[in-house]
């Protein structure tokens, strides 16, 4: 019996004729690959990645703190004001500031918004800021002055309310630039 083929009486093991191991002269080996367990593992990984991906998508809100600067500030404009919101324990206090606009126009937007059902009324603050934006379209800055009891979540919710407002189904940009000022340590009279 010849292992390498040839010979009229030999039984070929490798090559020669057609067999499980390939056709004559070929060294190819056909292997059936079982894809089922691979698919099983990948489906599981995919499922958990999808679940985890949807559960925690992180974003951010840009904020700054006031910094003393020696450079002269930009000249104030009459169509732009800075909104100030003091977060008191039971209410929001909204005031506007601008050096060149009439005091009466600024005071027309001064408001106190008490809490509603124990929570700050961010929808109402958005409405108020929308009216400010209509009167002073170039305004884009909000200064938040938290109190000692204010939490991180409350500041975020206020920023959300002050960033944009839905008008007739469209997003209207309010005050995207936010500055977080220092705490108010006591309920000082205005």
């Amino acid at each position: 019996m010849s292992v390498f083929g040839g010979g009229s009486s030999g039984k070929r093991i490798f090559g020669g004729g057609k067999s499980l191991f390939g056709s004559e002269g070929s060294d190819e080996i056909m292997v059936d690959l079982n894809l089922t367990p691979l698919m099983d593992v990948m489906s599981n990984i995919l499922f958990f990645l999808l679940a985890g991906f949807g559960a925690a998508i992180i974003s951010f809100l840009a904020v700054s703190v006031p910094v003393q600067s020696d450079a002269p500030g930009a000249p104030p404009k009459t169509d732009s004001v800075t909104a100030n919101i003091r977060i008191m324990p039971d209410e929001y206090r909204l005031t506007l500031s601008n050096e060149v606009v009439d005091r009466e126009k600024l005071d027309a937007h001064r408001k106190i918004l008490p809490k509603r059902n124990g929570a700050y009324d961010n929808a109402a603050i958005a409405e108020l800021l929308y009216k400010v934006k209509l009167d002073f379209p170039a305004s884009d800055t909000l200064i938040i002055v938290p109190s000692e009891a204010t939490t991180y979540d409350e500041i975020i919710k206020l920023m959300d309310g002050a960033r944009e407002h839905m008008v007739d189904g469209k997003r209207f940009r309010l005050l995207p630039k936010v500055v977080v000022a220092d705490l108010i340590k006591s309920d000082a009279a205005e």
Binding site: M42, L46, I58, S59, F60, L61, V65, D153, D160, V180
Partner: protein, 159 residues
């Protein structure tokens, strides 16, 4: 049409899994890349619950400052301890010395690497629990501003 068996009507239908594996592999790959890019990993801060927000901003990572119930971490390294809602450590007025020194060191090192100021050099990515009182955040933010980081990105979960 292949029929097997004697009198039964079963059909052998070979299922081509290769195409399915191809699609799954691609999905897996892109999900993993996206997931890794979005991950904000903060050591020892597994108990932080971020507040949710309707912002659409895509995350841009910068130096990560995490404030947990027990400690303050800068890029996963603890730099100060928090005990009963108060930050422990030496102070010089409003400045928390350990945080100030560490931020200054990092800032100087970064400027050495980049040869000057570059984007995000004055930005900190702030990660804090939604219930964290502002009395805890305020001194940290003030100290960071003194160290040349007046801008922050407040970490939130997208709604």
């Amino acid at each position: 049409m292949a029929m097997s068996g004697g009198s039964d009507n079963e059909f052998d239908v070979p299922l081509n899994l290769v195409a399915l594996i191809d699609v799954l592999t691609n999905l897996l790959f892109f999900l993993m890349v996206g997931f890794a890019a979005q991950q904000v990993s903060v050591a020892g801060a597994n108990d932080i619950k971020l507040p949710s927000s309707n912002t659409k901003a895509e995350i841009e990572l910068s130096l990560v400052l995490a404030i947990t119930k027990d400690q303050i971490l800068l890029d996963d390294l603890p730099i100060a301890r928090v005990v009963n809602g108060e930050i422990e450590g030496a102070r010089e007025g409003d400045k928390i010395v350990s945080i100030y020194d560490r931020l200054n060191t990092l800032r100087a090192a970064r400027q050495d690497e980049t040869g000057g100021l570059s984007k995000d050099d004055d930005v900190l990515f702030l990660v804090a629990d939604r219930s964290a009182p502002f009395t805890l955040l305020a001194p940290v933010m003030k100290t960071a501003a003194m160290a040349g980081y007046p801008n922050f990105r407040f970490a939130v979960e997208k709604q």
